[in-house]
């Protein structure tokens, strides 16, 4: 079971037998049950909060409010969000807590003997609110007439600039200018396991939270900050996690359940408390992929050499930052695409609104940026009559490019490689890939005269790991066990915090330990995702774990080997891997080195459009990835297929309706994620393995890359099929029909 092999997942047997337990499966027998009551107010001041009836209701154990949180604030990168909205401000928060800015701001946790009693008692909470005016979207919010965070001077709270070359000269040198305004929609993560957590005070007095997230140590930090205690007094561990995709990187129940467990303990109640969200609470209650508006101009010579890129980016951060400042950075860099751009002006802004917060979601700003960059390139190719892949090849970034941030790129730039592989492998025949009849409406045969076929391309790159100087490290502990006379360890222990969100990282890490320590995987015993045993791994995000955790394991095994050679039994190996440093960009020019590693991808999408009904069937996707080294090729292909399915929903079916700061369709019956009959008929995955110089075994990362290029490849294929360019989505059948009608189809 070594690197490059394709063993069964280590969690496969538990997951196919039902033995794997997710957070909602681990409710202790004598637990009390909690309900988190949202304010249900997108913008209002709390005037009165009456809890007497709730407290007197049958089965109620206690209620938890703002008054129970020593430091009533949280946030992964800025403390701008109260844990609870309330009247009794603890005075130790950077945001006033008596104003609700989001419908899912937390108001009260009601704890009762049973879930039913907790729900019934929640209905008895009496509130009085003073309604406040709303800044629903960036158009209103950027005027600053209504401030989302009073005390600030502007809703535009984070700005980035790129100034490269001479933009006026670049525009003047262009023979063709492509100009467009792109509207990118929200997307809901829709992981199938909704949020749940159990909390208690353990025998050693640690505030303990068991849940499913993406980074146990960050959860612990955030809990400790709010409770105003040392992180060492908090323990976070993960059960099996039913999907995350960035949606479990921020706090949902972690802090409130920790506060609740602590309050129960203060009341002398030693029972655990459990809370599980409903699907509706999950969709309303956590952040989304960001809505964004981008205006862009791309200039090129008649020969197809890019002379200039201009862009203005407005990112709807929603009511709180979450990771919007970081997402903005990625979007900012990716609007210029994977191309050599001599002259550029890019202005990007994150803007607070009274809407659902935007945050991490697979791609992290990359999909929005790539939709703009690649749509612009596809339009340019058409305008100049140049083959779209050839146009990209002649402008591609290479090892000698300065890049948009003018600091060069990490060695091994793979843009041309993925373009070449895409050109070589893209099917040349005109036939549909599947050869199957397309029946847009299952019960009716299609009208053949209404079917149009098309092909679209997109190319991109995505950073691996944290960017812009954010502290980046990953720890691993490896222990070799054996007797003094043993030549090699008979048993190897791995302690690691990497979160298994479904991507297969636990399997990959065991493969890597087996390979590095040259032992059989059966000799390895691993303990994962528990702050009580493992060091800080950083999060399961940014396509970083294979790269970061792999390097941490190489280091830890090397340390254990040294100790073993010195005769230590057991032989301990601890290692904290730190990748090459990155930096924040210069505020005026955007100069700097934002990233230490990138993955590269190119896609060709073949599809059929029914111009009578507006249905689209994707017949075939060619997805090319330079991954450095495939640690587990089958799981890697699984990442590609899964990312494409999510992107397929993003561009074609997933429509989150947000009106006046409220999500109107918080159900899976109204927010449609793709099923087995909706996804592309065929996906051909091409894996290139160009060794990364700093990656473990040469590996980069891949989890986000296939998502990023899919939407612009689909809209380019729709254009190829129908002649209509579309600068927004999701393209549900009725929406697509509207666009086609505008194009006289």
């Amino acid at each position: 079971m070594t690197v490059g092999a394709t063993p069964s997942r280590v969690d496969a047997v538990d997951k196919v037998t039902g033995l794997a337990t997710y957070p909602a499966d681990r409710v202790p027998k004598n637990a009390v049950h909690a309900v988190v009551v949202f304010t249900n107010q997108p913008h209002a001041r709390l005037v009165k909060l009456g809890l007497a009836e709730t407290l007197a209701a049958p089965g109620v154990v206690t209620v938890v409010t703002a008054a129970d949180v020593p430091v009533n604030e949280y946030g992964l990168t800025l403390f701008d969000q109260p844990v609870f909205i309330g009247l009794d401000d603890t005075g130790r928060s950077s945001v006033p807590c008596n104003v609700s800015r989001w419908e899912a701001d937390h108001l009260v946790v009601v704890v009762a003997e049973s879930l039913i009693e907790a729900r019934q008692a929640s209905a008895l909470i009496r509130t009085e609110w003073e309604q406040l005016p709303m800044a629903n979207d960036v158009v209103v919010a950027r005027t600053d007439e209504i401030l989302v965070h009073p005390g600030s001077t502007s809703n535009t709270y984070h700005e980035l600039k790129i100034r490269k070359g001479d933009i006026e000269k670049g525009i003047a040198a262009a023979d063709v200018i492509i100009e467009g305004t792109y509207e990118l929609p929200h997307q809901e993560h829709a992981y199938l396991q909704v949020e749940a957590a159990t909390a208690w005070i353990d025998d050693e007095g640690l505030v303990t939270v068991e849940t499913g997230g993406q980074w146990v140590h960050e959860d612990r930090e955030q809990i400790a900050h709010a409770l105003d205690i040392d992180p060492e007094e908090v323990r976070v561990r993960y059960a099996s996690i039913g999907g995350a995709f960035g949606g479990k990187e921020d706090m949902s129940l972690q802090i409130v359940m920790a506060v609740t467990a602590r309050k129960l303990a203060k009341l002398g109640n030693k029972r655990s408390v459990h809370c599980g969200w409903s699907r509706e609470e999950s969709i309303v209650g956590h952040h989304k992929r960001h809505r964004a508006t981008v205006h862009a101009r791309l200039g090129a010579t008649a020969q197809g050499i890019i002379t200039a890129v201009e862009a203005d980016v407005w990112l709807d951060a929603g009511a709180y930052n979450y990771t919007s400042n970081k997402v903005l950075g990625n979007l900012h860099l990716s609007v210029a695409g994977a191309y050599d751009v001599p002259n550029a002006r890019i202005d990007s802004k994150a803007i607070y609104t009274h809407s659902v917060p935007g945050g991490a979601f697979r791609g992290f700003g990359g999909p929005q940026g790539a939709f703009v960059a690649e749509s612009q390139m596809n339009k340019l190719a058409e305008a100049l009559g140049i083959d779209p892949l050839e146009l990209r090849r002649q402008n591609a970034l290479t090892d000698i490019s300065a890049g948009i941030t003018q600091a060069g790129l990490p060695e091994g730039v793979g843009v041309v490689r993925v373009i070449d592989a895409c050109a070589e492998r893209a099917p040349t025949s005109e036939e549909p890939a599947s050869g199957k009849p397309f029946r847009p409406i299952a019960s009716l045969p299609a009208e053949m005269g209404q079917l149009r076929q098309g092909r679209g391309y997109a190319v991109g790159m995505k950073n691996v790991g944290f960017s812009f100087g954010f502290p980046e490290a990953c720890e691993a502990d490896v222990v070799f066990h054996g007797d003094p006379e043993d030549h090699r360890p008979i048993r190897v222990e791995l302690l690691h915090s990497a979160a298994e969100v479904g991507q297969g990282v636990h399997t990959a890490l065991i493969q890597m330990v087996a390979d590095a320590a040259n032992v059989d995987s059966k000799q390895i015993e691993a303990t994962f995702s528990d702050t009580a045993t493992g060091g800080d791994s950083g999060s399961a995000s940014a396509s970083r774990l294979t790269f970061m955790a792999g390097n941490s394991i190489l280091g830890a095994v090397e340390e254990a080997e040294k100790a073993w050679a010195d005769g230590d039994r057991p032989a301990l190996g601890h290692f904290s891997y730190k990748p090459p440093l990155t930096e924040a960009l210069d505020p005026q020019t955007g100069v700097g080195q934002p990233n230490f590693c990138y993955g590269y991808m190119a896609q060709a999408v073949d599809l059929t459009v029914d111009i009578g009904t507006g249905h689209v069937r994707v017949d075939r996707v060619l997805s090319v990835h330079d991954v450095g080294k495939a640690i587990h090729p089958r799981m890697l292909i699984g990442q590609v297929e899964g990312a494409i399915a999510q992107a397929h929903g993003y561009v074609l079916s997933e429509q989150l309706v947000v009106e006046d700061g409220r999500i109107r369709n918080p159900r899976l019956s109204q927010y449609l994620i793709p099923g087995i009959g909706d996804v592309p008929v065929k996906i051909d995955c091409v894996i290139l393995e160009t060794t990364d110089l700093v990656g473990p075994w040469g590996a980069r990362g891949v989890a986000e890359m296939p998502f990023i290029t899919y939407a612009p490849a689909v809209t380019a294929a729709i254009h190829d099929a129908t002649g209509v360019w579309i600068d927004t989505f999701p393209l549900t059948p009725s929406v697509l029909l509207g666009h086609l009608a505008l194009g006289n189809l």
């Binding site: 909602a24 209701a57 396991q193 699907r279 089958r634 899964g642 099923g675």
Partner: protein, 163 residues
């Protein structure tokens, strides 16, 4: 607001008779998970869309989140916990999902396994379209379904070589 009246409910689950008392409106999903501790049946949407909660009742796939426990009395309920042999040998559908990497987070897996089991019991040799139709009511957010499709093909092979 008053606590609801409890009834004795008797269910036949995976060949075992189980008794517990619960209000008449107890959902089968909650009964399996909460009263009987069979947490392999998952709940992903609570209203019949995702298929995570699929169990077999008299060999038909049913959404346990839309079924009252009381209505499943006197019928044979099968859940993911009952698929493998008593000695732990995986059912061919389970083995195929494992071998074909037809799961990532695994949350949807029990539902898919139950739906696929019912399909292959009824139609040992389904064509692609029948597979699509049978699995259309089970959502997966991780895999993109390609490996799930391969796993069904592989399960068919395993079941045929079993005979």
């Amino acid at each position: 607001m008053n606590a609801e009246v409890s009834h004795e409910i008797v269910l036949n689950v995976n060949g075992e008779v189980k008794r517990f008392s619960a209000p008449a409106r107890r959902l089968l999903s909650d009964a399996l998970r909460g009263d009987l501790g069979l947490t392999g049946t998952h709940v992903g949407c609570e209203h019949g869309v995702c298929g995570c909660c699929t169990v077999l009742i008299d060999n038909q796939p049913v959404r346990s989140c839309l079924t009252f426990a009381i209505a499943a009395q006197d019928r044979k309920i099968r859940t993911v916990e009952g698929l493998a042999d008593a000695d732990g040998e995986l059912h061919p559908v389970q083995a195929a999902f494992k071998e074909c990497h037809a799961l990532q987070c695994g949350f949807c897996t029990p539902g898919f396994l139950m739906t696929a089991t019912a399909l292959l019991e009824q139609r040992p040799n389904p064509d692609e379209e029948e597979i699509t139709e049978a699995l259309a009511g089970n959502l997966c957010r991780c895999t993109g379904y390609q490996n799930i499709r391969s796993a069904i093909g592989h399960a068919i092979e395993l079941m045929q070589s079993d005979i």
